[in-house]
Every structure is written in structure tokens, then in C-alpha cells.
Symmetry: C2
DNA sequence: AATCAATGTTGACATGGATCAAGTCCGCCG
DNA sequence: CGGCGGACTTGATCCATGTCAACATTGATT
């Protein structure tokens, strides 16, 4: 099951090969990088992001308290972001899929404040933060993009806060599924038929519920014909009805 | 009670007077601005932040969906940050006190994603975002500072997520009080004796609870001798015990 | 094939917090 | 002064979710 990532090339890639896969060829560049870069600018950014790193399933890309020397763009696979409190509580604060950035929370203190764990064999592009920061000072478009990404992460987190603060179990699950659906569709995947990369436990942590409650919420939505679930395979049978559930609770 | 802010000068300030109160004289500059700026750099930053704006109690500094043309530093007073969902839910995502920034969430989309409401008559420094961004490109110290602030906001939000995801009512209230306490002490105020600026309703929204539950949690902590509360006046009688409550729940 | 550990589902029951309803304490305003 | 509304507290009850336990499924190991 947990086999090495070997989809793009034979066994162990050589460094020279890794370097060849640039941002220009990457279908995700429109998610990671700003539009409107000149060729020269693009090349300078690309030069910074030449390093890749593979992370096997259940391994960490970085740990809490580890010094932050780079941020990461998910190239393939999926991660969960977990924060840990002083007293040992653990909380999933989000999942990161291809084209999304990881490690932005480490900029403030210079150390990562959360742990990024691969949910499947994954690969990330390494972005040395000091260097991208220096380059951003020279390329306004890049600078603006970086600020936008940071700000969007704030907005995303506030969305999670709203979910936790105002929604019941069923609504939380629906919000979660619709959020996944939306992000998948942006990436060209089906918004109504997908496989969950994360366990019920990870979902329940993000949603601030127990796994039993999440399981029952899945079952109820299934019984009502709104979704189909078998294990990790989810189909949204009535996306409109799901969205409607998030608006006025009953009537 | 709700009188205008007139502590620093007679009745209605003239613009020329407002401009005189620069960052140099502001005791909060160490919170808003980076250390290590040269005199020249400091002056350039200061020149950008010369505008002030007063916001009366219960008035909004900005509204959701309003175009974001500036970010703000709280000079005096206190704000609540509220996000609203499409379906009309409202959620307080945090409170901002003197020296803290407001409006960072608007950078991503160019429009504010939340509403900032003054909890008392307050004053903010207006920071035109485009200009501070441009200046940051020229002053690395400033750029780094800006990134840190953005990142810290992410970390702060993740802390709220953890609170909502893992704590019970009493723990949430304790976490909230200790957080306030800490921020007040940084500003030179007593960490164990303070006045709440926000209503029980605002607190309950942030904590994802009802006002009744918040009220009962206050009462219980009071009965246990951990705090003293009369209305908005709170005293932490046993901060160590409060902190201990956040660690291992029972034993 | 047998065993085992993870993972998820389902049921029965307990409980923390929501809901509903008074009631108190204010400051405010006529 | 008296009445009124808003903010908060307190009590009684209900219910959504947590807890505990059994069981199913799956894949890994032997």
C-alpha cells in the first residue's frame, strides 16, 4: 500500500532529474505563483524553487518547534496541519492539497508552530523563505502575491473558527465536504466524486467532534440521499441541497 | 460614560495637531513597528502613518465587503473582529487592543472579510497598504516585520481553532482570560486585575458558547475562588491554578 | 488460513451545554 | 421619581454530542 512515489520516473530519481521539472512545466504554477511575471522574473523565482522533497505517508514534512527555514508548496499528495498545545492537546487546523502552501505559520517566530504530516506519499517544492522574501522586495508582483497568500491563510482560518463556533455536527461535515469539493474542482477534479485522503479521526479533529459523531453524520447524510459514502469514497449526490443545509437551519 | 477621547488635547483636535503625534512619541511603536530601523527609515515609515481616525463605541472601523485600502493599528481603545457568513451567521474571531493591527484579512481579496467594531471610543492609525507595501520593498526590516505580523495572525487564529476544537466551556473561558491577561501585561497593565471591554455576548461568540454558559462558567470560577468578577471587573486570584486547569483536565 | 491491529460503524447511555423562562441590576429617559 | 430596556445571572429542562462498548471490515504478519 504505502509504496514509494514512482509515478513520474523509474526508481530513485537523480538530483539532476529533479531539477529539470521546473515551475514552467508545473500545472500548479498558477496556484502557487502570481500572474503577470515577466519571463525574466519568472526564471528568477523558478531558480529559487528548484528543490523538491518527498514525504512518505505518515511522515512529517516538519515538526512543531523546528526552526523554519523554508516554506513549501505541495506538488503532489496531501498533508494535514496539526498544532499541539503545551498541555499535549492536538488539533488538526487544516489539510493542504496540491498547489497550496505549508509552513506560513512559522514566519512569525522563526519556528514552525505546527506539524505537517503527509496523508499519502507526497512531494513538495521547497521555497527558502529568506530568499523568496529578498526576491519579493525586487518583484512587486511577487511581493503582493506573497501577502495575498498570507492573508488568505488568515481568512481560511477564520472560516474554520466560524465553522467551529456556529455549526452543529452535520453542518460542520457538510461545510467540510463542500470545501473539499470546491478545492478539488479548482484543480480540475470532479467536485462531486472524490476520495478522502484523511482518516475519520483527522476529520473529527478538524471539525471539533468525535469520530463517532462524524461517522453518524456521514450515515445520516447518506440515509437522506444527499451523499454516497463507502469508506473514503464520497459522492455528493445533491450538492445544491447540501449547500442549502448550511443556510437557514430549518425554516 | 461614553465620552469622546480627549485625553491628549483639548476638545476637537485640528488636523495639524493630529499630525504632530508621531510614532516616535507613541508608546505603542514597539508593538507596531520593527526594531532596528535607522532614523531615516523610521521617518519614512512614520510619514505614512500620520493619519488617525477616531471610532466611537459601537461604530465600525470598516465593514465586511468594503474595499480594503488600508490596514489599521489600534492606538487607543479596543475592537472586536466579526466575520459573517453568507447565510447570516456571525462570529467574533478576536479582539484587538492597543498596538495590534486590524484589517490584515482584507489583503488577500482586496476587500475586508470581517467587520471591526469599536468596543469603546477608540482611535486607530491608518496605514495605507499599498504604500507600506512599497516601502517594505525598500526596507528589509520593515518587510520582515510585516511578514511576521501576518504570520502571527495565522498562529493566533490557529490558537482559537485549538481552543474551539479541544476545550470545554470552563477551559475556554480560562484560556480567554489568561490570553487577555498576557496581552495586558505586555502593555504594562496589571495581568490580574482588569476590566473587560466586551460584553458577555461577544465573549460567548468568540468562545463558541451561549451567554448563559459563559455566565455560569464565570460563576463557577468565582465560587472556586480562582477569580473575582463584578460585572466587567475581573481579578485573577490564582493565576497559577487557572493555568493548571488548562493542562491535564483532572488527574 | 489464523491472528492481530487499525479503522470505521453502530448502539446504549450519560452529560455538558443549549434552550426556555424568570428574575436582578443597572443606567437611561421621560 | 418611576418606568423601561439592555445586560447579566440563575434555575429547570431538553437534546446534541460525548462516552463506552460491541462489532465489522480490512490489510498486514505469521
Amino acid at each position: 500500500m504505502a509504496e514509494q512515489v514512482t509515478r513520474k520516473s523509474p526508481p530513485p530519481k537523480r538530483l539532476s532529474e529533479q531539477l529539470q521539472v521546473g515551475c514552467q512545466q508545473c500545472s500548479l504554477s498558477e496556484l502557487c505563483l502570481p500572474e503577470g511575471l515577466s519571463e525574466d522574473e519568472f526564471a528568477r523565482v523558478e531558480a529559487l524553487i528548484s528543490k523538491r522533497r518527498k514525504v512518505l505517508r505518515n511522515r512529517s514534512l516538519f515538526h512543531t518547534s523546528e526552526p523554519m527555514e523554508a516554506i513549501y508548496a505541495v506538488k503532489t499528495g496531501c498533508f494535514k496541519n496539526e498544532v499541539m498545545s503545551a498541555d499535549g492537546r492536538t488539533q488538526v487546523v487544516g489539510f493542504s492539497m496540491a498547489g497550496e502552501l505549508l509552513g506560513l505559520d512559522g514566519i512569525g517566530s522563526g519556528a514552525h508552530r505546527c506539524e505537517a504530516v503527509a496523508l499519502e506519499d507526497s512531494e513538495v517544492c521547497l521555497i527558502p523563505f529568506n530568499q523568496i522574501e529578498a526576491l519579493a522586495a525586487q518583484i512587486p508582483t511577487l511581493q503582493r502575491h506573497l501577502h495575498r497568500l498570507l492573508s488568505r491563510e488568515i481568512v481560511r482560518d477564520q472560516g474554520v473558527i466560524m465553522m467551529l463556533g456556529t455549526m452543529n455536527a452535520e453542518e460542520r461535515l457538510i461545510a467540510f465536504l463542500l470545501n473539499l469539493s470546491h478545492r478539488l474542482s479548482i484543480r480540475g477534479y470532479s467536485p462531486v466524486d472524490f476520495y478522502l485522503r484523511m482518516s475519520r479521526e483527522d476529520i473529527s479533529s478538524l471539525l471539533g467532534l468525535t469520530i463517532e459523531t462524524v461517522s453518524r453524520a456521514f450515515t445520516r447524510l447518506k440515509e437522506e440521499g444527499l451523499i454516497a459514502v463507502e469508506k473514503k469514497h464520497v459522492r455528493l449526490l445533491d450538492p445544491a441541497a447540501l449547500k442549502a443545509r448550511l443556510s437557514t437551519p430549518v425554516a
